[in-house]
Symmetry: C2
Subunit: 290 residues, 2 copies
């Protein structure tokens, strides 16, 4: 049986399926301490005959196989998880093939294998929520280089009507510092929730402009065949359409092969399950390549 | 013998070597009309027994093998070359393996195979000249997706002391519109040459800031193991160092695996020959994969 662990900063989603990805069981635990959370994961898995595991983890994580801290969660603001040897902890419990990657890469794999990018040669998956992150899959492979991607922290041109200083502790007004959920709310009176800000508020034009610029930058740098955007910020109903319109404006017909923005930029076909199903796909792949 | 054509907007460089890349002949022609320029190329090659050809062309070009205009130069501002069937013209003359890519990709391949990225798993090559462009090689393969990369046209945060409207006919103040040679000169009295602007002028801080932001964005989106920057704008002596310093400031230790900026960002090891030698490497590769 195949197992998936989608390790998020607030909750862990676990799943088990047969080799054809028919789901046999699913469970969810709050992200508390590594000891407690992992004990819950292993207890859930103990009901099944696990043959391979795919892990998509919150980060930053170490994905460099030559590094002494390969498989660790590294400098996360979640103190209890700093320098947690995630992969080693799972390996100590299960002597099976394990695929280790970021949560956004797992989501990209899910959409590439089973979602709206199924018929595409490559896809870029982005999430706009508490943080901003992205994963890229091309020809069936996750793109990794010197590190996993960290494209949430790029710089974009400031909107002339937006003078917010930014929310990123490393870079102030990088993209994440401008459009992550907490950054949007931080521009309003304390206690305001993003979902309660009216659709007519200027902030949504500002957010659409920043995200459209970022998608333009990613498109020109990676040339993905599809871009998929998810996360809590996208729950604002009109935002996807505003981003598509602004993106088309910014590109200004420069890239001849580019499809219409409504086709090119889409919400995840698997909704909130992209990451978890991606973990199963990775478990399957690691079993086949073993 | 192997042949290389580095097709630039102002001149064509041609080269012939043996299978070990020992150079047997080299020639250069101005880029006039396609008919005249290609006739010069073929006349030069007629002295040799050509077994494979690598072409690195100015663009935009069509690199989609399924497209009816595959191998064409597409919507270039150089009218005579618009919709020129470059690859077909060479194929009509030589029934040998031909590798077709952009000039910046050829340079990236040159540096990856023979230059300062020889010992690296991936490298990003950027040129800052009349235009701004980039090519990316990873694990011996050129990165291409929906199109070849067009990363010169990303947006970055405007420098507070720079109010120049921008020089890009498509996007005004995209990166190319802010830092290409003509954009730098356009900020000064008519006739000023970039090489005559004093090193102490504020413009060089502005240019270093924009380029450093762009390198930060590319790094986070591609995670190359090395970044190589060339082109006429970099002939300003102090610019590389300013870019390295600003880049390190902007990243602010966010990426744990990142080497020192002085190691990570370098000038081309092959100097102005990166593209031409890259074309030979591509000719060799296409012969071996035939």
């Amino acid at each position: 049986m195949l197992a998936g662990i989608e390790a998020g900063g607030t909750k862990f989603n676990c799943i088990v399926s047969d080799h054809d990805l028919n789901i046999l069981g699913q469970s969810q635990f709050p992200t508390t301490t590594p000891e407690e959370t992992m004990a819950n994961v292993f207890e859930f898995f103990s009901n099944y005959d696990i043959e391979a595991i795919g892990i998509g983890s919150f980060g930053p994580i170490d994905v460099n196989v030559d590094s002494p801290t390969y498989g660790y969660i590294t400098n996360t603001p979640k103190i209890a998880w700093q320098n947690f040897a995630f992969l080693d902890t799972v390996k100590a419990q299960y002597n099976v093939p394990i695929f280790w990657t970021t949560d956004v890469n797992a989501s990209a794999v899910g959409e590439y294998e089973l979602g709206v990018a199924q018929d595409q040669a490559s896809c870029l998956y982005l999430t706009f929520g508490t943080g901003v992150g992205g994963g890229f899959v091309k020809d069936g492979k996750i793109h990794t280089g010197m590190s996993h991607l960290e494209m949430g922290h790029i710089y974009v041109k400031r909107h002339t009507d937006d003078h917010y200083a930014g929310h990123c502790p490393f870079h102030n007004d990088c993209l994440e510092g401008l459009v992550c959920g907490p950054a949007i709310e931080d521009r309003f009176p304390k206690g305001t929730k993003a979902k309660d800000i009216p659709q007519t508020d200027l902030i949504w034009d500002v957010v659409a402009d920043y995200i459209a610029q970022a998608l333009n930058n990613y498109m020109l740098t990676l040339m993905p065949n599809r871009i998929i955007i998810g996360g809590g910020v996208l729950h604002q109903d009109s935002l996807l359409e505003r981003i598509q319109i602004k993106f088309q404006e910014l590109v200004n017909d420069y890239v001849a092969a580019l499809p219409e923005a409504t086709e090119y930029i889409q919400k995840p076909g698997l909704g909130d399950d992209a990451g978890l199903l991606g973990c199963l796909c990775l478990a399957k792949a690691s079993l086949e390549n073993y």
